[in-house]
Amino acid sequence: MPTPVSTARQCLTDEAARALDDAVSVARRRSHPQTTSLHAISALLSLPSNSLRDACARAGTSPYSPRLQFRALELSVGVSLDRLPTSKSSAVGDGGNGGPPVSNSLMAAIKRSQANQRRHPDSFHLLQIMQQQNQQNQTASFLKVELKHFILSILDDPIVSRVFAEAGFRSYDVKFALLQPPPPSRFFHRSSTPVFLCNIEPVEPFRFDENSRRIVEVIAGKSQGVSKKNPLLIGVYAKTALKRFIELVQSGKIGFLPKELDGLSVISIENEIFEFVVGGGSEEKILLRFDEVGHLVEQCLGAGVVVSFGEIEVFVKMNDDDDCVNVVGDAVVSRLTRLLEVYGGKIWLIGVAGNCEVFSKFLRLFPTVDKDWDLHLLTVTSATPSMEGLYSKSSLMGSFVPFGGFFSTPSDFRNSISCTNSSSSLTLCDTCNEKYEQEVADNVNVVGPSTSASTNLPWLQKVNVDSDNRGLSLAKTNEDNTSLNAKISGLQRKWSDICQHLHQNKSLPEMNVSQTLSRFQSPFHEGFRFGRGTSNLNEIHCSNPIPYMSKELPTPFPSKQIIPFSQPFDTNLCAKDKAVHVPKLSKFDTQSPLLDRKSSSSLTPVTTDLVLGTTYTSVTHEPDTPKLNDHKKHLQHLSDSLSTDFDTMNESTSNQIARSSSYSGPNLDSLFEMVDFKSLYKLLTEKVPLQDEAIYAIIRIMTLCRSGAGKHSQSNSNVRADMWFSFLGPDRVGKRKITSALAETLFGSKQSLISVDLSSQERFQPSNSIFECQDVLRRKTVVDYIAGELSKKPRSVVLLENIDKADILVQNSLFQAIRTGKFPYSHGREISINNSIFVVTSSVLKDNGYSDLEKEPKMFNEERIFEAKRYQIELSFGQASEDVMRSSSTIVRVAKRKGSFLNKRKLVEISNSNDKVTSKTMKHVREVSRSFLDLNMPLDEEVEEEIDYNDCESDSAVQKPEAWLNDFLDQIDGKVVFKPFNFDYLAEQVIECIDKQFQTTFGSEFVLEIDYDVMLQILAAFWISDKKKSVEDWIEHVLGGSFVEAQKKYHNAAENVIKLVKCESIFVEEQATGVCLPARINLN
């Protein structure tokens, strides 16, 4: 949308406005619909003398005369103007403002120049004056743009720079000339404080060379306090840099010599040295040359002479082939040294080395030269001369808006919002947002005459948020928006306050998700909060987050939501509604106290914007629905776990009780008042067998927490309902299972488990391990991952494995979380953990007095089980080794592993057991075993194991858990110590089971030998499987099936040993249902 001329004029000083008028008249004459930058250029050039013409004249670098170039410029401007479309006559002179309106690009140029001008310190006071005016008189426009800046930013316009380029001008040069006052000073400015050379500084273009500048610096002795002042250029580009320097000095074009080096000259004796040293030239000639140099130096009127001796490769190379050259080289070097001694301050040596190898060789040959010559190494890493062509090549030059930080992608906006504290960003519900936007729009309208509020709003917000985020960096570019932004952020604050007050959505992590949702939910929670009967309303509002932060709208009731939205209910109606609802709900015994209290509690505070929630309306709207179901549905929807199937709800009654009560509670506080710990215990022990003790301990801690005796909540017990457990000791999978069962029973689904293994970043995870590894954490910091997940599902169990491996970030966050009840993102934003349970595990830490069990040697221990991989398994016939023959009574036995081993321990093991099938049966196994067990372990192996275990211990002792961990664990509500999982016992059972299968198929004539790794795999699968009997099923169906198959195939075979082995490097493709084992067994 083009801007009317009158508006544009307001932004300009008189002089610049006149130029704009000229441009407008050009446009009108040509009957163009808009006034563009080209028109402005055309108008400026048509004046006989002005700063643009002047600048062009000075910037001219082409071989043609300036007059010709001007002609070319006028021509190309003319041609470009001809190309512009002419408008219908009606458009001309529109608006009665006198002329075609100003085009967007020209207007943008004006804006840029405003910003540019503002950045200049000399006009800063002006800005402040303007700002004050702004506040007093809001119709006043921005800073007026001077002609110079106006032209400068017009030159930035890509069309304009193209036109200039066509005429052989570089718009960059023109800009430069514009900025420079005509008399150029030849002084190379190095101010005392380290600063940048800004574009405005008077350095003649194209006589500048960074490398030469540095050489001069060294010669002048100004290079950072180094006294050595004979430069030796080193690097790939050193040679070209030297050449360039010599050229520049010789041509006298070097524009940056400091005063004390006035009249510096250069002599190159490179060729002579080369001839002498390499070509075997006569000594006389070189001596003559040296004398000549001496004379020159004596006669030199200027600052002195720089003598270039060229590449030091010359001295070095020759030495390789010929001893005598060293003498020659020596001669030259000593002559050069003499020169330096004699002519002291008036002579400099300069040379180059292609790389540092040459240089170090040179130093080896002439050890004193470094000192004698006072060499200053100057690294040359770029070839500068080629840069000259750059300016012209880049059509982009300067054509971009100088607002460095303003280009942000839309996603950036979101990012920054989530980075900044949410309270400052726009977490408003949409009514408030609407009002807020309206108010902002009003303000923008007033302040910026040319900005259209509705379109600009997002942009302004972006800038605002951006500036919060980036602080300093944008402060400068942001100036023109500061006053406006201040207002906007003021408004933001105001409305978010209002919004918070009314709608209490402060804890909403992402308002964008669903603003309507929050409105629909908030009254519901309010009801519950009052229901808790706490007198201090405000406190609750602040401390209690909304527990049901569902991500999706509950889809089954879309139409009903709309109805209550629009009509605010007064308190009476609300009370009535609740009263209707209460009796229905009170059918659930566990809930009735809560609800009763709710209905009886004072409802008077519920005055503001209270809207009827779905929960109630839907009941009244659907009287036909069975009440129980109906209620469950609501709870279901309100909870996070929308995915849970309704049917699963009906699985078991006890389950339902636990769940539904958990749904109904607004937070865990009341949840645990409701939960029947006995049934919880029953549920958990059902889900996780063999962990009764641990579960009992957990329940006990929960009970303590509820009674306010939890460690961390002692200080402010009533407000917080988060709980912290530490699970110590071995049995990692057991810990996982219990945690997952907790999540499922308390929060309704396994999805409510947020699990992070803190050691995963350190350890290399082998591929295809049976145990899953997490890849997500590579990409995000752990803290952000947890916080992010928590914001998605606040009612979760957070499982942090290997807490001893937590990095600093996680440590800090955890400490803060356990102290304040808020888990911080790495940016500082916080998420409430009021409805979460934190479980930290560590296998390093053990409770005192424990671990005697550990010492007992095991054939299978946790560490080894974790090495299990998803190998394909195959059956094959083979010769049993002698050991097997000896132990005749056995049918099923486990073979020792063979082949390559991963670590040292295994190597020891292999050397000990030496591929023998194990012969010694483990004691306790034998005792327990009824039948054909042969869990063989050599005696020395046992010793090995023990040592290994001790190693492990000492390892952990070395990286002793730091003080923080003890601190942290001290604050945790309760500690649960796990026992090691008895794999050997499990193995015994598994073997028994396999044995049964095997015997029914093959009878007792055959012997089955199970590979150790296969056994590991089966045990691991057993360990992690959730369903009972899944492994048994696998043995019965998959393994049993393959036995039958094998029996058919091989019943005539001579060997009577059948081996169950892994297929090396072939991994399971098809997995059996419900268990981490192959669905099929290969036959060989």
Binding site: P194, V195, E210, F359, T379, S395, S473, R778, R779, I808
Partner: protein, 268 residues
């Protein structure tokens, strides 16, 4: 402008409360915000110095002098000036891409200032040089890239960012695109020319400060051979740390992993 301090101009920040100094220098196309996720790991044990290169989008483009910043040495001046202004006498230095080059050059000039250099995605020379050196880019390719940049900067950014990030991390791509797009296109082009015109191979041997080269898998800008080349040619004690992650910007794509690796490298 003469009075503008370099500390302000380049947005220098010092974070943390340790007793040792640690410099985080960002690479081409990013600004100091790239370190944001790595930073918290170090604030406890270090005083971390962060700054923007003069070419970064967050620095006033007026400071970018086209004549001065033709060579990396001008950037080195800036770095040393910053350290001097802060009265730093010794520090560890973590530099990414162009800043790795800058760090090496700075350590040649002032070896006593640096206790250790950690070079991430570093290369002494990006262009191939016959059979002897494989820098990863052919001159022709580069020109092609440059003209693509000139033609449509935004399109180039959108194409380049995912490539550079390498790993499939949308957030990192977004972040890199943002900072890259914040740079004024002409400056981006100019700086990339400077980088591609630089050749540090001749001077690697002058770097006597111990270096740790961190090299990721599949870094589109730096082939693995370059890391080995650097290790062989650096003048001081140097090690290579192969990072088990992908792309040129591990501090964006795998911040916590990188932080951990940095901790290890710094403690060595």
């Amino acid at each position: 402008m003469g009075s503008t301090s370099i500390l302000d101009a380049l947005n220098v920040r010092v974070e943390g409360s340790g007793d040792k100094y640690l410099v985080f220098a960002h690479g081409f196309g990013t600004d100091q915000s790239a370190w944001q996720r790595v930073l918290p790991y170090f604030t406890r044990n270090y005083k971390v110095i962060l700054y923007d290169l003069v070419c970064a989008g967050s620095v006033n483009p007026d400071y970018f002098d086209y004549r001065r910043y033709t060579a990396l040495d001008a950037y080195v001046d800036d770095l040393l000036n910053i350290l001097d202004s802060l009265h730093v006498t010794r520090c560890a230095y973590v530099g990414h891409s162009i800043s790795a080059m800058i760090g090496m050059l700075a350590s040649i000039r002032r070896p006593e200032l640096f206790s250790k250099l950690i070079l991430i995605g570093a290369s002494p020379r990006f262009l191939n040089d016959g059979e002897n050196y494989h820098g990863g880019f052919e001159q022709g390719e580069i020109e092609h890239v440059f003209s693509a940049m000139e033609a449509n900067y935004e399109a180039w950014v959108n194409g380049f960012a995912p490539l550079a990030v390498g790993a499939d991390v949308p957030a990192a791509v977004r972040e890199f695109s943002r900072t890259l797009f914040n740079m004024r296109p002409d400056i981006t082009l100019f700086v990339s020319r400077t980088v591609f015109n630089s050749d540090l191979r001749g001077i690697l041997g002058l770097v006597k400060v111990p270096c740790c080269i961190m090299q990721t898998a599949r870094d589109m800008s730096v082939p693995a051979a370059v890391a080995t080349y650097m290790k062989e040619h650096l003048g001081g004690k140097s090690t290579i740390q192969w990072l088990d992650t992908e792309g040129h910007l591990p501090h964006l794509s795998a911040p916590s992993y990188l932080a951990h690796q940095l901790e290890i490298a710094l403690s060595q």
